[in-house]
């Protein structure tokens, strides 16, 4: 049963699975989640390679330049997905748009998770007055009318900071409340375990107890939250861009491309202009949600212990 010293540590290391390795195996067995991961991976690769790919796929790989002679062309051999009302290639814009939509979604998610985890774990660990103060502040942020604030802040900050980062910052600073609450409640529950007391008794500083002991044990919740947030923040970006308050007009994003659909003429007669970004958004969100579900199953605390 127990391997003796002769077999060496390397072999033992393989035999013992860390809780993370167990979760990874479980995730790999989930077909839907794996297909979704593959799809998301492809979308990310295509978006990242946009500058390299676009010249091969389209005669006009420029995303911004208006081309009066090539307006409203339906998909054909030259323009695989047609051109839009300003004569720009839809496929090129779709590839470049993916970069922006995914970038905004990922950066805003990172920001939200960072602030939410910081506030939530500190509030949960220290409790008492610190907890009350931080949570009242969280409630305050949660009660901001999101849309109004995004529009106002975007207008004020426009021109001072690069448009894209304004949007990421604004979305990030207004959306961390939910994560903070979830992390806090998880930390509160996890804190009751004796290993936290043990960590204090062996001389860990509060920061170390939070980072090394509490966070790894609430990480599963944070990861699942992050995936779901990623999806919803991509939608937030698209929604804002569609309304004209998101990514600046000159930068292509899936939401910006979708904005053409508010003209009845385009919506009814020129589906090649809005169908690709709509599909891209839908499928990406769907796959992210499947991945989130898969992670939730794989990281179920019962399977981790």
């Amino acid at each position: 049963m127990t391997t003796n010293a002769a077999t060496g540590p390397a072999k033992n290391r393989e035999k013992s699975l860390s809780p993370w390795a167990i979760a990874r195996r479980k995730f790999m067995k989930n077909k839907l989640a794996m297909i979704s991961t593959a799809f998301l991976f492809i979308v990310i690769i295509l978006s990242l390679l946009a500058p390299t790919l676009a010249p091969h796929l389209s005669p006009i790989p420029d995303v911004a330049k208006v081309n009066i002679s090539k307006m409203n062309i339906a998909p054909n051999g030259d323009h695989l997905l047609g051109t839009d009302k300003s004569g720009r290639d839809v496929l090129t814009r779709l590839l470049y748009g993916g970069r922006i939509s995914l970038l905004v979604g990922a950066s805003a998610t990172a920001l939200v998770i960072f602030i939410g985890t910081l506030v939530g774990s500190i509030a949960g660990f220290f409790g008492g007055a610190v907890d009350s103060m931080l949570m009242r502040f969280t409630d305050f942020v949660l009660n901001f009318p999101f849309l109004v604030f995004v529009i106002v802040l975007n207008t004020i900050l426009f021109g001072i900071v690069d448009g894209l980062w304004v949007l990421i910052g604004v979305i990030g600073f207004l959306s961390w409340g939910g994560v903070a609450r979830i992390v806090r409640s998880k930390v509160l529950a996890e804190k009751e375990n004796e290993y936290v007391l043990a960590a204090i008794s062996i001389g860990c500083s509060p920061a170390k107890v939070i980072v090394k002991h509490l966070l790894p044990n609430v990480m599963s919740t944070i990861i699942v939250q992050a995936t779901l947030l990623f999806a919803s923040l991509i939608i937030a970006e698209s929604g804002l861009s569609y309304l004209g308050f998101g990514v600046p007009q000159e930068i292509p994003s899936w939401g910006n491309m979708l904005a053409y659909a508010n003209e009845p003429d385009v919506l009814q007669g020129k589906p090649w202009m809005w169908m690709p970004p709509a599909l891209a958004i839908t499928l990406t969100i769907l796959s992210i949600n499947f991945i989130g579900e898969g992670l939730k199953d794989a990281l179920n605390p019962k399977s981790l212990r």
Binding site: S16, P19, Y195, L197, A198, A199, G203, S205, P216, N217
Partner: protein
């Protein structure tokens, strides 16, 4: 037996000094209530407890659930802030130190926890769990540290290969051994064992207890051994303190306490120990009623509501813990 006698002789030769002195320790948990969540009362988990532990000795602390044994242990290690009193450890007053000074002081007193399933971080490798206390205080060569941790693992009766495993791969008894190795890692002077075997099978209990005894001699440890099982405490301790409702009601040497319990509560406890010989059936003292709430303890002696020998004065005056015979302290008006 002979080794025990030898150590007893040794201990008589050199007068042992106090390692831990506890004076009038109080730990209250505030009860918040009312509209503004202000403090409306206190749960007196530990109420005026005093005792001393000499170097190299084991003091047992017994009492029923909720009597404040664990809170006492945790307060002594400064895991809970004491409300009042004084804790003097190895000549230094640690009652009110905090921050990095407290963290530094923790090197010398460690704890073995009650629940081996909750006291080990499920995300850490066993090697890291045991190495962590050392890394909190000094930088060590990685190879050297690994060697040291492995030697600790072997010492507590686990294979070296345990180093690379995770806590979920071990049984309760093995996990408790990991917890003991973690407590030993810093080479502490005092280990507080908070019901270390109450979550284990009886067959495993004795193994862990014997391990603790062996380690005590080898590493020159002092124990505060908290338990609710009188036979376990008898096996382990030199002196025994009996707690009731946050108060220490009797402190005596192992032999005196079992042969001649003085406090009515101790007498009742000892009469409840099962006797293996059926012919030796003895009179059991059955206490009436329940333990009063520590949020609203009775006036006078905390035990007078259930005491078979209660007198009128018991409800008015709280008897202090006084030495009625050499080394035998009791808090009761009868003596």
């Amino acid at each position: 037996m002979t080794t025990k006698e030898l150590t007893e002789q040794n201990s008589k030769k050199k007068e042992r000094e106090n390692l831990l002195e506890v004076k009038n320790l109080k730990t209250y948990y505030p009860i918040h209530g009312g509209f503004f969540k202000h403090v409306v009362g206190n749960v007196k988990a530990v109420d005026d407890v005093s005792f001393t532990i000499k170097k190299g000795e084991t003091m047992g602390l017994v009492g029923e659930s909720g009597c404040g044994k664990s809170t006492t242990g945790r307060t002594l290690l400064r895991l809970i802030k004491p409300t009042g009193g004084q804790i003097i450890f190895d000549g230094e007053d640690i009652t009110n130190i905090s921050g990095s000074r407290l963290r530094k002081a923790r090197q010398d007193f460690q704890m073995v926890f009650q629940d081996p399933y909750a006291s080990l971080n499920p995300m850490q490798m066993v090697g890291d769990i045991i190495a962590e206390p050392i890394l909190n205080f000094e930088r060590r060569n990685k190879k050297e540290l690994e060697q040291y941790v492995k030697s600790l693992l072997t010492r507590v009766g686990l294979p070296e290969s345990a180093y690379y495993k995770y806590a979920h791969e071990f049984s309760g008894g093995q996990r408790q051994r990991i917890g003991i190795a973690r407590a030993l890692a810093l080479n502490p002077k005092l280990i507080i064992a908070d019901e270390p075997v109450s979550a284990l099978d009886v067959s495993v209990q004795s193994q862990v207890l014997n391990l603790l005894k062996d380690l005590q001699e080898e590493f020159d440890l002092t124990y505060l051994f908290i338990a609710h099982d009188l036979s376990v405490v008898k096996h382990m301790s030199d002196t025994i303190g009996v707690m009731y409702l946050g108060n220490l009601v009797e402190v005596a040497s192992n032999k005196d306490l079992y042969s001649e319990p003085l406090h009515p509560y101790t007498q009742a406890l000892i009469s409840a120990i099962p006797e293996p010989d059926p012919k030796l059936r003895k009179e059991r003292i059955v206490l009436q009623g329940d333990v009063p709430s520590p949020a609203n303890p009775p006036t006078g002696c905390p035990f007078h509501t259930r005491c078979p020998m209660a007198q009128e004065i018991c409800s008015q005056e709280k008897p202090p813990l006084k030495e009625v015979r050499p080394g035998h302290h009791v808090a009761c008006v009868l003596y």
